[in-house]
Amino acid sequence: MAERGGERGRFGRGFGGRGGGGPRGDRGRGRRRPGRREEEEKWVPVTKLGRLVKDGKIKSLEQIYLHSLPIKEHQIVDTLVGPSLKDEVMKIMPVQKQTRAGQRTRFKAFVVVGDGNGHVGLGVKCSKEVATAIRGSIILAKLSVIPVRRGYWGNKIGKPHTVPCKVTGKCGSVTVRMVPAPRGAGIVAARVPKKVLQFAGIEDVFTSSRGSTKTLGNFVKATFDCLLKTYGFLTPDFWRENSFRKSPFQEYTDFLAKPIGKMLTLPEDTERIEA
């Protein structure tokens, strides 16, 4: 390791040189940051949407949902929903694969995130270490956050607490029907969908299901589908004509502000002289 550096003398080692104490010193300040805290707060966006969010041009997740833009960075959801987004690890399951040298165990983590106020997401990740799996599944859960619409059963007093209307979702052979319930009814559903509905922020609902609900994968997917449909149902509130809004990429462009064509054809008014 050291002799490589020695051959080059004090020429910079460039990329690809291994190790070396000298070059590291004079190239840059040590990048070791004091604690993990700082690293986690510093987010450099990787996608265009991320850059818009970091600039503060997008204020809420709903703007992103409106245009069906795919969310690829979990920090977007973190920034927009904020600290109210809670996550809960539901299960860690060891899975094994048979190899020539025995069994190779990895861990699958299952996490549900939600802010209890209309946003919920689920994530699953498998990894060699438990902590890595949990971290990865939290990220995936945040990427899959969906909005949930809530409404009233009867009198419109207080906050919405139940689904706005009867909705039904289907996946495979399982259909799940959610029916608005009066306050105090609680979530009347099977154990796992109940958890999901709690995170979504629905307080009271009656459910009814049909089909092979033993296939719980389909069961929960049908519940999710149902929740997605709450915003798809056309209620009289939406009867008013809505004008189309510009996508966030078009809305925040400075390009439209200046008539660039003019600047080129009139050289007299541009005095951009560079020495």
Partner: protein, 415 residues
């Protein structure tokens, strides 16, 4: 993939031959484990030695000149061989014909060989997004005719004893001078050779007519006359343009801001075993939810696209400000780039062969989209955006008669 959502018990009895065919012992468990294969490769390949690049403001005016062999992003390129610059069609975007814009350069010497003591890789691309989208189709082409690319990579290498630099290492204190003459560069972009001279003032040089027109319209029309008058009295532009080079001011406003690239090893960022505090409050539902969760698991793992982005995020999270990942392993097993998206990946079999020596090419480095954030690129519908740009170079780093040899760049888009 599963056909519909059959329950686990049913699947234990069935032996559905999957599309892959070769996995004989597929049973129900494998549905869940099938997804692991993608993760498998990722977990195991973490042991590669990756060097990261970060951008920083240059420490001083002279720190990024060519005699100091810098790695830099934005601004103008510091050509290693200042005379035999790329010319002709290699400076232009093959799709729109505009001259390419300088993105970054990487100083990547190979110590094992004598003629690669100094080695620089330059990446140029056309700033137009429409060209980049068209380039997506072009980069797949492998036919005998050359594909029309809008992203080009050049490699230049020199041995220790050469005619441009002294064999002594640079002192890095501002007093280093470049030996010999340099070809004059375009006054508008500062990147390419300025062959064409402005006919009236004879001091402004351009690489192409387009840049001459741009410069003319944005102020040269006024100052051209002034220069022409004043140059009659004394000898104008110096043959090697050394003083101009020191100032490094170019007329174009649309080139990207200049940064130095700092090199750090990725292993320095590995956190100590992260706290297992999360463990404590996890298993809320330890009750028999095994079947539940098992079938949930494979339904909610997210599609491939999301998973690959999540994996990418985790890997980048160690050092979120990185803009470059360098990992060259010529000969001892090729290394794989870190792909953000799942579609648009280049498999090893599809890597083209070197155009000069016919040998194999290997992955050298990749450019990450954090660079766009540092360049303050706008976020309009049609502004520049990519998921990653992966550069493959000749594994033997061959010598050819050309000073600047073209290498292969692959652009992956976020869909």
């Amino acid at each position: 993939m599963l056909a519909g959502g059959d329950s686990l018990e049913d699947l234990k009895g069935l032996h559905i031959s999957s599309l892959d065919g070769e996995k004989e012992q597929q049973n129900a468990d494998d549905d869940l484990n099938g997804y692991e294969d993608a993760d498998d490769e990722y977990d195991d390949k973490e042991l590669e030695f990756v060097t990261l690049g970060f951008v920083e403001e240059p420490k001083s005016r002279w720190a990024l000149l060519r005699q100091l062999f810098p790695s830099k992003a934005g601004g103008v390129p510091a050509w290693l061989d200042p005379i035999n610059l790329p010319s002709g069609n290699s400076c232009l975007c093959d799709i729109c014909g505009e001259p390419l814009q300088f993105l970054l350069q990487v100083y990547a010497p190979i110590s094992e060989k004598e003629f690669t003591f100094h080695r620089m890789l330059y990446v140029f691309l056309c700033p137009s997004m429409t060209c980049l989208l068209q380039d997506q189709h072009e980069q797949w082409k492998r036919g005998p005719e050359k594909p029309s690319r809008s992203v080009k990579v050049f490699r230049c290498q020199l041995s220790l004893i050469n005619s441009f630099y002294s064999s002594e290492p640079p002192r890095c204190d501002g007093s280093d001078k470049a030996l010999g003459t340099e070809a004059p560069l375009c006054t508008w972009c500062g990147a390419w050779k300025g062959d064409k001279v402005c006919s009236s003032c004879r001091s402004a040089r351009y690489c192409s007519e387009k840049h001459q027109v741009m410069h003319w319209r944005s102020g040269h029309k006024v100052e051209c006359a002034q220069i022409a008058v004043s140059s009659l009295s004394y000898e104008p532009s110096l043959p090697n343009g050394a003083s101009l080079v020191n100032m490094r001011k170019v007329a174009s406003k649309s080139i990207w801001p200049e940064f130095a690239i700092i090199i750090e090893d990725e292993c320095e960022f590995d956190r100590e075993v992260s706290n297992a505090d999360n463990h404590a409050n996890l298993l809320v539902s330890r009750e028999q939810m095994d079947e539940t969760v098992e079938s949930l698991l494979h339904n909610f793992e997210g599609n491939d696209e999301r998973k690959s982005w999540a994996t990418f995020q985790e890997c980048v999270a160690k050092a979120p400000e990185q803009v470059l990942r360098y990992c060259r392993n010529a000969g001892s097993g090729d290394s794989e780039p870190l792909w953000p998206a799942s579609s648009g990946r280049l498999s090893k079999a599809d890597i083209p062969r070197c155009g000069y020596c016919g040998g194999a090419m290997c992955f050298e480095f990749q450019i990450l989209p954090q660079l766009l954030y540092y360049f303050r690129v706008k976020n309009d519908v049609d502004s520049l955006d990519w998921a990653t740009i992966v550069v493959y170079t000749c594994a033997a780093s061959c010598e050819a008669s050309l000073a600047y040899k073209e290498e292969f760049a692959w652009v992956q888009h976020s869909s």
